[in-house]
Amino acid sequence: MGRLSRAAGWGAARLLPAERREWAKAIWAEADEIPSALERLRWYVGGTWLLAKEPLMGRRVGRCLMFAALIAAMASSAWGSATAGADMWVVRALPIATVAVTILLALVARSRLGAVADSLIARTLRISMYLAMALLIVAVTGLVRLTGAESALLRLGPPSQLSAGKVVAWSLVELLLAAYIAAVLAITAQRSRVAPTTLVIGTAVGIVLGATMYAIMPLGVWEFSTAPWLRGTAGDPVVVLAWVLLLIGPFVAGLAAGRCYSRPASHLAGGSGKIRQGIAAGALMTIVASLIVCVLGLLTLAESAHIAWLAQLMLGGHHLSAAADAHRAYVLSKSFAIGYALIWLFFPLIGLGMSALAANIAWGSPTSEQHGNGPGGGGGNEEGPEPPPSPVGEPEAGEAIGVALELVGALPSGT
């Protein structure tokens, strides 16, 4: 019991800020000297109360509980019900691999870029990303169960008989998930130099695009709307809106983020800082939209084959078995994989490209490099003498690409 309580105390101490950790360990170590068990228990209670009162404790404990709940949800989905067969081990391997990749990327991000930025929007984005990944895993495992026995791709067979093509396919799936996780971790880190207003702009426009696209295709990506509330030509204006948001949204988000950015005195010259914010906003916007479309869409597909009211809502009067048959046929088709793969792969690229274009147009000229201004007008409250020209010369399109690569961690900061 003594070892257990000591281990619990030392574990709880790890949740405290570094300057308070020694004190927590001191309280727990002192308990060993107390002869009476009741008095020792009172001592532990007092120490626990002290830990609980620490300002960051609630947040840290909440974070631990949230992660535990997400892992429990994924485990329940993967292990909770019988799989279609002994060779459907991908249902269990995918959550394990995703959790391992997430932990690894979080540790790498923390060591290179620091902890999460101290803003509500950054913390909310990270938590939302973890939640989205967990829901995605739940949805994918649900779809694998729905179709697994009939899908050549999903039915992997025993590990010793894996084909190279299937290994590559599932590795690419995991790689895409890792790329999204890494991008959000990088953008929301302390040393990423992405301003909170940039995060807000990117997230807000991304939510609008994601919600618009989900409204069109809640049951998968087709050439036409799959929404029961947008039949026939009723969906055409919404489709047009979605295309406009997809192509123009990153452009506008990039300009807005750069416009709102007022650089700290010791930071990059005005143009480079605004370019960075613009690209970050555009990339974030399409990442958020892509996650909303894919997570909600796949969840709707998976769950409307099990939940009667959802099947009723989405498929209008069809029974669950009919819904399951329809979904199975779709998920087994090439349209399913191609549609979602296109969204996952190309949305962030469109976001990066359009926002880089906007940022370069606005702040990529020598004039804008000196003053931090552009067609969008002056940015921030810059007063005082004109800063000297950047020693690296006028920024070019290559700088915008360099900033984009730096944001996703392909280059060290400050390159």
């Binding site: 000591r6 308070r20 020694e22 004190w23 360990k25 001191a26 309280i27 727990w28 170590a29 002192e30 060993d32 000297e33 107390i34 009172r42 001592w43 209670v45 007092g46 120490g47 109360w49 002290l50 009162k53």
Partner: protein, 116 residues
């Protein structure tokens, strides 16, 4: 009633316990027994005093076999001076404070009515 030094009664009791043996390192449990304070009260006081530079803390060099190292505390030079001043101030405050005289209110019989 908080003395003029600004330290609470509990803090003054901790300062008094540390001042009794200013050059000796003392353990947390020993301070708790001397002051009668629980761990949830004692340690925040020690933390605040350490943050203000009045108390210094260190880990025991040679712990007993099979037991973890203990945390030790003693007053710094500033802490000893502040403790002496605070304790003297508290004594003076306790000595001079006296309850106010009771005020006797005249009883007015119920039959008496005031002239309007």
């Amino acid at each position: 009633m908080t003395p003029r030094s600004g330290f609470s009664r509990q803090t003054l009791s901790v300062l008094a316990a540390l001042s009794a043996r200013p050059s000796d390192w003392q353990h947390g449990y020993a301070l708790a027994k001397q002051t009668g304070l629980k761990s949830g009260t004692l340690y925040p006081i020690l933390i605040r005093l350490a943050d203000r530079g009045l108390v210094e803390a260190c880990w025991q060099d040679e712990p007993q076999p099979g037991k973890p190292r203990r945390h030790l505390y003693r007053l710094t030079a500033n802490g000893a001076a502040a403790a002496a001043a605070a304790l003297a101030d508290a004594e003076a405050t306790a000595a001079t404070a006296s309850p106010p005289p009771a005020r006797v209110r005249p009883r007015v019989p119920r039959s008496v009515t005031w002239a309007g």
